[in-house]
């Protein structure tokens, strides 16, 4: 495999052009054919009387249905003395209800041809499943039960705590987790967004009563979206949602407070996470990025595709295809409800740690100082538009994409507008986004690896070294 992240199809991608001197195209290569318009699926929007938002996409034919439910309030809403408890909550939400025990819940989903997946993010908890269309009725009944009646049985919570504590210990061996956690701290400091996982202390302190309390606060119809995509008729699905969620009541108390806008301004310093015995250094350059709703979000996406977001990008051609420093370099923009970030990342062998940092900075700054070539711009735009079309093939990806928009307060139509905005991006737009987001001096440097190796490799650059917060 060329790049591990592509496994899940094109969710991300990496692929190529020679940035400086592109090889000429073969003379016999046939041209691209006529483009067919890409239509985003029409979304039927509805609301139940209790405030539950319902977004439905009917795609008859292929016999499966993806359901995703997003609930406002994730890590950023966790109590200060229980950081990351949202993960314990998402691990235990399917471990029992008033009507079903954990085994029964797992078996009912299996019998519908699906798994239940529940996960916590900074802004939300998301619960989803993809099942056979013929089993949608029993599956939604269990889903509704979990969302309204989860009971967090004492014995299940105590087992989940033990397992989460052990798995956290295990994750702490993973350089990628260590890097992400350090980046979150460096970018978001003491704001609620610095939490991306629980701590051993918060796991130990959490009780079933804590979970029940948070569940009662957050899981309410007026703070929830139900999304279904697949082989059903909208009227029928809406009836099914009404039957299963219609009697759900929102409590009188006010819901989780919204997170205030966060603008990261990290120090341009090296934050070192020591990992003795590491045969590679994981380097991340991390800075603030645009919000998903920002007018220059799409311009920044195009700039990133030119810089490091594709196999053909400048960074990948430089440090992978030309120099062979790394297997898996990439750059990406991540957005949350109240913030955005922009990270460049590579795992490289110890000897080229300094050289890799040098090339990353060089390529970031080159985006600021030189406009993209016409070919680079066209390629990046066509790539992003095409990848969006490919993403929309998958029912679960459409459901997730819609859920992501809802969490960030955007309307479902945005799923169709994104491609048009990308296509309309100009060279000037890219330059403006590059000037704003790409100067290497805006970025903090996070390195996970052998301490001595990293310190020596980065010493010549004269960057202040700080331990990761």
């Amino acid at each position: 495999m060329r790049f591990v992240k592509i496994i899940a199809i094109v969710a991300l991608c990496a692929s190529c052009a020679l940035a400086q001197k592109p090889a000429p195209l073969p003379k016999d290569l046939p041209p691209y054919g006529p483009e067919k318009p890409v239509e985003a699926p029409p979304v039927k929007i509805a609301k139940l009387d209790n405030g539950l938002t319902v977004w439905l996409v009917s795609e008859p034919g292929f016999p499966k249905v993806s359901c995703t439910v997003a609930i406002r309030g994730g890590y950023a809403a966790d109590p200060g003395d229980r950081p990351g408890i949202s993960e314990l909550l998402s691990n235990t939400i399917d471990q029992g209800t008033k009507l079903r025990n954990a085994r029964k819940i797992a078996e009912e989903f299996q019998g519908a041809g699906g798994d239940l997946s529940a996960s916590a993010g900074r802004d939300e908890i998301q619960v989803s499943t993809t099942i056979l269309a013929s089993k949608v009725e029993p599956a939604i009944a269990v889903l509704a039960d979990i969302l309204q009646n989860a009971s967090f049985p004492d014995d299940e919570v105590s087992l989940a705590k033990k397992n989460l504590a052990d798995s956290l210990q295990q994750r702490e061996a993973d350089p990628s987790f260590l890097a992400s956690r350090a980046v979150a701290s460096v970018l978001f400091g003491r704001s609620p967004y610095h939490v991306i996982a629980p701590t051993q202390e918060s796991i130990a302190a959490s009780t079933p009563a804590d979970l029940r309390k948070i569940y009662a606060q957050r899981f309410r119809p007026d703070q929830t979206v139900f999304i279904a995509v697949g082989d059903f008729r909208n009227e029928k699905m809406f009836e099914l949602v009404k039957t299963n969620f219609g009697s759900w009541k929102a409590p009188a108390e006010s819901p989780v407070a919204d997170t205030a806008r966060i603008n990261p301004e990290p120090a341009h310093a090296l934050f070192l996470v020591e990992r003795p015995g590491s045969v590679q250094t994981t380097i991340e350059l991390a800075a603030a990025g645009p919000l998903r709703s920002a007018p220059d979000y799409e311009s920044a996406m195009v700039a990133n595709a030119i810089y490091g977001g594709t196999f053909g990008s400048r960074l990948v051609l430089n440090i992978r295809e030309d120099k062979g420093y790394t297997y898996s370099p990439y750059a990406e923009l991540n957005t949350y409800r109240a913030a955005g970030d922009f990270v460049t990342r590579a795992d490289v062998r110890n000897e080229v740690t300094g050289a890799t940092y040098n090339e990353m900075s060089y390529e970031l700054n080159r985006m600021v100082t030189s406009s993209p070539t016409a070919d680079e711009l066209t390629q990046a735009k066509r790539f992003l538009v095409g990848i969006e079309a490919i993403r929309l093939q998958s029912r679960s990806a459409v459901a997730e994409g819609l859920s992501d928009l809802w969490v960030k307060g955007l309307p479902p139509e945005e799923i169709g507008i994104y491609g048009k905005k990308i296509a309309a991006t100009t060279s000037d737009d890219v330059d403006a986004a590059a000037k704003k987001y790409f100067p290497a001096s805006r970025a903090a440097i996070v390195a996970v690896g052998e301490g001595k190796v990293v310190r020596e490799a980065l010493a010549p650059f004269g960057i202040p070294i700080q331990p990761a917060p």
């Binding site: 190529c16 052009a17 691209y32 052990d166 099914l240 053909g312």
Partner: protein, 460 residues
């Protein structure tokens, strides 16, 4: 082509009473062989203006030469390094400018090249695929570059990771006795370093011929037009002598094999267990697949319930037949049913094993209930359909099936074939194959926290 009627009318009510089974879904699909031996499969999907391509070559880890471990995968990387007509960078540039993405994958029995893009890119992509089936740019510079990239890949996925993929590399290494099945497929660095450009050339000539390949194209396409295009771009490529296929047979295993490894990156121990499976497409293959999923698939599985929930001796259980490098239907030689169990530091290997054996013994004695079996089969059918949802993964499934069997029918039939497996078949399969004399175990424990402690156990 026939689609079950209930697909068009939302079949909740209709099918509520159905157990597993009775739901057929089959998109229009056809196949042709060019005179040079290239097999072409086309399957339609008009839900979006896109397509997926998979070209699989009949070459995988098993066939890489001795002294050249990791070569099939290193070679896969060389396929992206350009040709005399189309220099390095062109392929990726054309696909990305066409709004698509591409990748390659090497497994035991095939190497596949996959692409997906809006339909406007179909012509140039077929041309480029044909171009790299004619010849490559065999340059030392490219080889050196990709050798570095591959070695970084091994570092990031194996050497720098807790557990280092030992359940996929070390376990077959211990469970099998012959080079094709037992060697480290990611490659020893000394072998990767020894690879020469002549090796690349020879390998290409031996295995990358049209008659050793299956090209599948899925998406918003007109089959007649696709066959015409494929003819135009590929028909002129001459076929070559069929590559030799050495025997991969293993002598029967007669005794349990056990080993302990240390791991300097893992923080909690893990146990991998592998049972040798019956040959592919044999009379017990479906029962094997179902048993593997019954034991491992999700939180409802026997092993999860027994080890993680009831006995609480494990943190996680993963596994199945041909796991983790493929699904239980896509292999063409000896394979294992593997279990990968991560367990808490305060639990012993023997405690894990006792709980594991109890779950296996129960299945071997009483078998599953019909109800348990129906649930698992429904899940497997759903997973198999899931693989057919998107053009690029459907192209992969079709291409592998044709490579192994000469026909794509199994891709659409297997979901229904699974419903014929009986509880007795699962019980008998378990009693015959999941026995200690047929298994290999590796216990992987965190190395003591001394810099020079033990050997790394890393799979290099």
């Amino acid at each position: 082509m026939k689609r079950a009627i209930c697909l068009f009318v939302l079949c909740t009510a209709l099918c509520l009473a159905c157990s597993a089974g009775a739901q057929e879904w089959k998109p229009p699909t056809s196949m042709k062989k060019l005179p040079n031996g290239l097999t072409v499969v086309v399957s339609e999907d008009h839900s979006a203006p896109t397509f997926g391509i998979c070209i699989s070559y009949g070459i995988g880890f098993r066939l890489e030469p001795e002294g050249r471990t990791g070569f099939a995968h290193l070679f896969e990387h060389m396929m992206f390094e350009g040709t005399p007509n189309s220099p390095k960078g062109v392929f990726d540039r054309v696909i990305e400018s066409g709004g698509g993405a591409n990748n390659g994958d090497t497994r035991y029995d095939f190497t596949e090249y996959i692409e997906t893009a809006p339909t406007s890119a179909l012509d140039p992509l077929l041309w480029l695929e044909a171009d790299r089936m004619k010849t490559l740019d065999f340059s030392n510079k490219n080889l050196e570059n990709q050798r570095n990239v591959v070695e970084e890949e091994v570092r990031v996925n194996v050497m720098n990771q807790p557990y280092g993929f030992f359940f996929a590399i070390d376990l077959p290494g211990k469970a099998f006795d012959t080079y094709p099945n037992a060697h480290n497929f990611y490659g020893d660095f000394k072998d990767l370093d020894a690879a020469k450009i002549e090796d690349v050339q020879k390998f290409y000539e031996q295995y990358y011929s049209p008659n050793n390949a299956v090209l599948a194209i899925v998406g918003d396409v007109n089959p007649a037009e696709v066959y015409e295009k494929v003819e135009k771009y590929f028909a002129g490529i001459p076929s070559r002598p069929a590559p030799p296929r050495p025997t991969m047979e293993e002598k029967p295993q007669t005794a349990e094999r056990r080993e302990t490894e240390t791991d300097k990156l893992a923080k909690v121990p893990a146990l991998a267990i592998g049972y040798r499976m019956p040959p592919p497409r044999s009379s017990s293959s479906l029962a094997a697949a179902v048993t593997g999923e019954l034991l491992h698939n999700g939180q409802a599985s026997r092993l999860y319930q027994a080890l993680v929930k009831e006995k609480q001796v494990a943190l996680s259980v993963d596994g199945g037949v041909n796991w983790p490098l493929g699904n239980p239907f896509e292999y063409n030689g000896p394979t294992l049913m593997a279990s990968f169990i991560v367990y808490p530091p305060n639990v012993t290997e023997e405690q894990v094993l006792a709980a594991y054996d109890a779950a296996i013994n129960e299945l071997a004695t009483t078998g599953p209930s019909q109800q348990d079996l129906d649930r698992v089969v429904t899940k497997m059918r759903s997973d198999l359909y899931g693989q057919l949802e998107i053009p690029i993964t459907r192209a992969s499934a079709l291409s592998h099936a044709v490579l192994f069997t000469g026909s794509f029918e199994s891709v659409f039939n297997t979901p229904d074939e699974l419903t014929k497996v009986t509880p007795d078949q699962v019980r008998d399969f378990t009693a015959k194959y999941l026995v200690s004399t047929n298994r290999t175990m590796i216990n992987r424990v965190p190395a003591p926290a001394r810099p020079d402690a033990g050997k790394s156990g890393g799979a290099q």
